[in-house]
Symmetry: none
Subunit: 142 residues, 2 copies
Amino acid sequence: MFLGRFSHNLDAKGRLAIPAKFRSELAEGVVVTRGIDRCLSVYPLAAWQTLAEKVSALSISDPDARQFKRMVFAEAMDETLDTQGRIVLPPELRRYAGIDREAVVVGMNTYVEIWEPGRWENLSAAVEDAGASIAQRLADLI
Amino acid sequence: MFLGRFSHNLDAKGRLAIPAKFRSELAEGVVVTRGIDRCLSVYPLAAWQTLAEKVSALSISDPDARQFKRMVFAEAMDETLDTQGRIVLPPELRRYAGIDREAVVVGMNTYVEIWEPGRWENLSAAVEDAGASIAQRLADLI
DNA sequence: GTCGAAGTGGGGATAAGTGGGGAGTTTGGT
DNA sequence: ACCAAACTCCCCACTTATCCCCACTTCGAC
């Protein structure tokens, strides 16, 4: 269960410290890949594997499905936390998310998202204004 | 589990270094053959055998199936990694994929694809804007 | 204030990618 | 049958990147 928001810095080698609270659930390994809205998604290994099976099972004869498959697997990286609880963000993924030195690490219950601070600011500001209506729309789900 | 995208160079002898992360899963031997969309496919030996059975079982009376069968088996090469973790790409397969000096090695979860860099660029540029929808589709699978 | 845990930063050992030399085999021609 | 050319495969060497480890700093708790 990943909860909370943390601001951490990348070092010169592109390493990002994972919040200590998250580490035990990610100790088996993680998969980092592109997320929605230009963030990065970090999945615990077990969660990724169920996801990967579904993607792998897609028809090979459908060109769209082939392309989808390629992007999912080619842009994903599997890693393990280093002894300090950090992961390396490869340059391609940093570019995709616009992350330079600072990053926001966000718990999303079953997985973790990583954001460029400015982008995170914009989105959460937008949500605050629209908060009432969004909440109203989604309240029925509870 | 093959994940990620790597740019490697062929040497003058047509050898290609397999990313170190992939080697343990390919140590038993590999089969290199023509892939879809003018790339090359590299299968671990065990995965190839199950694939070969399926292709073998295709109807011999269907002309398309016969032709597919020929393409798969006639152009396939079985190899083992050399002591440096490299494989040789035979000239016919290089010509098929348009590979000269550089190549992109792509993890596809259960197997590996090898691309000419320009061709890979084109394909990924085509879906670059679709990146968000890919992530969306991925999210829906969770 | 002190202690401990967490975040941050860098040095050095180790492995990976790349390139080339050379022994042993095969191939094809004379 | 012999030789020469081509090929394969193993080994060595160099450069670069990766990872592990150690050390400093900051922050919160007691």
